[in-house]
C-alpha cells in the first residue's frame, strides 16, 4: 500500500514538474525559429543562446526528475 502511494507520488512529481519546462522550451524554440526566419545570418548566435536558455528551463524538469528518483529508489 505504501509502495503504491510512493509510485504514484514519483509519477506525479515528474509528470507535473515536466509541464512548466515543456511550455518554456516550446516557447524558446518557437521564438528562436521566428528569429532565424527573420534574420537567417544570425543562426549561430541564436542557436547558442537558445540552447543555453533551454538548459535553464530543462534544469527545472531535472529537479522534478531528481525528486521522483529520490521517491522511487531511496
Amino acid at each position: 500500500m505504501e509502495g503504491d502511494i510512493l509510485n504514484i507520488g514519483a509519477g506525479l512529481a515528474i509528470g507535473l514538474g515536466a509541464i512548466g519546462p515543456g511550455i518554456g522550451i516550446g516557447m524558446l524554440g518557437a521564438k528562436a525559429m521566428e528569429a532565424i526566419g527573420r534574420n537567417p545570418e544570425a543562426v549561430g548566435t541564436i542557436q547558442t543562446n537558445m540552447i543555453l536558455g533551454i538548459a535553464f528551463a530543462e534544469a527545472i524538469a531535472i529537479y522534478a526528475l531528481v525528486v521522483a528518483i529520490l521517491i522511487k529508489f531511496v
Binding site: I51, L52, E58, A59, I62, L65
Partner: protein, 390 residues
C-alpha cells in the same frame, strides 16, 4: 576486402534483416518473457539502480593519505580516473609530432580548442577570455570525455555480484535499513558476472520486504538461514517454471555491482565540479573588483532597504547556482543511465541503439552547457555593475 565490407554493410542495412532483429528482440525481451515462459531468451534481469556509487574496494590502514581521502574506491571515481587517462593519451598522441599545417588528430584537437577559445574571447573579452579559458576548456573536456566513456558497452553491465548477505551487512553498517530490494539470481562464473546479452540471467527475484528480511529472527540482521531458505524457495519456483532443474551451486542471489559507471552519475563528482567552477568565479570576482567591490554586491547598505534585500537575494542566488550546476549534470546523466537500463531490459538488441545516440548528444550538450555557464557567470561577476544608472 572492400567488396567484403560493402557486402557486410548491405546485409546489415537490409530491411528484412533489421525486421528480423526487431522481432527477435521483441520476443526475446521483457515483452516476450511476460507472454510466455519459453520466450524471453535474451532478457537480462533489470539492473539494480542505486543512486550512491557502489564501493569496489575499501582501503585499510591508518596513513595520512588514506585518512585524508575517501577510504572507499567507488566505481564512479575509477571512471573519472579513466577519463583523465583517456584525455592524457589523446593529448599525447595529438602533440607527438606537431606540424605547422596540422592534419589528422592534431587538426581536430586544434579545431576544438580554437572554437572554445574564440567563444571565450567573444563572450568575456580579449583579456579576460584568456584567463577564463583554461578552466572552461578543462571542464568541457572532462565532462564530455567522462560522459562518452560512460555510454560505452560494458559500463553498468559487467561487475561483481554482491550477495544478499553482503548487501544486508553493508546496509547495516551504513544504518540504512528497511529498503525493498529485488535480489536477482545470477550464475556464478568465478568472481566475474555479467548481465550483458543476458548472460547468466535468471529472472526470478527474491523480494526482500521489510521488516522480515532485516529484523528477522531475534533482531538478528539478515539471518543466513532465512536467506538460504528464501533462496532455495526461489530456485525451486524458477525451476518449476522452466520445468528444468539446472539450478545448482553455481547460482547465487545478489545484486550486480558494476566495475564501471559514468563518472557524472555520481552526485559527488558533479558537486566537486560545481564547487571548482564557483570558487574560481568568486576568486576572479575578488581579483577584478577588489574585496569590497565584490562583497558590496551582496551586502549593500548604500541604496536603501530594497537594494539591501536584493543583495541578500543575490547571495541566495549564488548558492542556487551551485545546486543547479550539480543537479543539472547529475540528473541528465543519471536519468540517461536509467533509460539505457530500461531499454536494454525491454528491447534487448535494437532498442538501445537510438538511445545511445541520444546519450552521446546529451553528454556533449551538458559539457557545453556547464562550460558556457561557467564562462558567462565568470563574465557577469567580474563586471562592475552600477546600480545608479537605472
Amino acid at each position: 576486402m572492400k567488396k567484403l565490407f560493402s557486402y557486410i554493410s548491405k546485409i546489415l542495412l537490409n530491411p528484412i534483416f533489421l525486421g528480423c532483429i526487431l522481432i527477435i528482440s521483441i520476443l526475446g525481451g521483457a515483452l516476450g518473457a511476460a507472454s510466455s515462459a519459453s520466450l524471453g531468451f535474451l532478457s537480462a534481469p533489470f539492473a539494480y539502480i542505486s543512486i550512491p556509487s557502489e564501493t569496489l574496494y575499501v582501503f585499510k590502514g591508518d596513513s595520512f593519505l588514506i585518512n585524508f581521502f575517501n577510504r572507499a574506491l567507488t566505481n564512479t571515481f575509477l571512471m573519472s580516473l579513466l577519463g583523465i587517462v583517456v584525455l592524457l593519451i589523446i593529448s599525447k598522441i595529438a602533440t607527438q609530432n606537431m606540424k605547422i599545417i596540422p592534419s589528422g588528430i592534431q587538426n581536430f584537437i586544434e579545431f576544438v580548442i580554437e572554437a572554445m577559445y574564440n567563444t571565450c574571447k567573444k563572450i568575456a573579452g580579449e583579456e579576460k577570455g584568456k584567463i577564463f579559458f583554461p578552466l572552461v576548456m578543462t571542464i568541457f573536456l572532462f565532462i564530455v570525455v567522462s560522459n562518452w566513456i560512460g555510454v560505452l558497452p560494458g559500463t553498468g553491465t559487467i561487475g561483481r555480484i554482491e550477495t544478499a548477505e553482503e548487501y544486508c551487512h553493508h546496509q547495516k553498517e551504513k544504518n540504512n535499513l528497511g529498503h525493498d530490494v529485488d535480489f536477482n539470481i545470477y550464475k556464478r562464473n568465478g568472481n566475474l558476472s555479467s548481465t550483458l546479452f543476458g548472460f547468466g540471467a535468471a529472472q526470478y527475484k527474491i523480494k526482500s520486504s521489510d521488516p522480515s528480511l532485516f529484523n528477522h529472527v531475534n533482531n538478528e540482521i539478515c539471518s543466513q538461514d532465512w536467506l538460504d531458505l528464501e533462496f532455495e524457495k526461489a530456485k525451486q519456483i524458477k525451476a518449476e517454471e522452466l520445468s528444468t532443474n539446472n539450478f545448482d551451486e553455481n547460482y547465487q542471489a545478489g545484486i550486480l555491482v558494476p566495475f564501471f559507471r559514468g563518472a557524472n552519475s555520481d552526485i559527488n563528482t558533479t558537486l566537486a565540479l560545481a564547487l571548482c567552477a564557483m570558487i574560481s568565479i568568486h576568486f576572479w570576482a575578488f581579483k577584478y573588483l577588489g574585496l569590497f567591490g565584490h562583497i558590496g554586491k551582496f551586502i549593500n547598505f548604500k541604496n536603501g532597504p530594497i537594494n539591501f534585500f536584493v543583495g541578500i537575494l543575490e547571495l541566495v542566488g549564488e548558492l542556487a547556482k551551485i545546486i543547479s550546476f550539480t543537479f543539472r549534470l547529475f540528473g541528465n546523466i543519471f536519468a540517461g543511465e536509467v533509460l539505457l537500463f530500461a531499454m536494454a531490459f525491454l528491447l534487448p538488441l535494437i532498442g538501445i541503439i537510438p538511445f545511445l545516440g541520444l546519450e552521446l548528444f546529451i553528454g556533449l550538450i551538458q559539457g557545453l552547457i556547464f562550460a558556457m555557464l561557467t564562462l558567462i557567470f565568470a563574465t557577469i561577476s567580474t563586471v562592475e555593475h552600477n546600480s545608479d544608472e537605472h
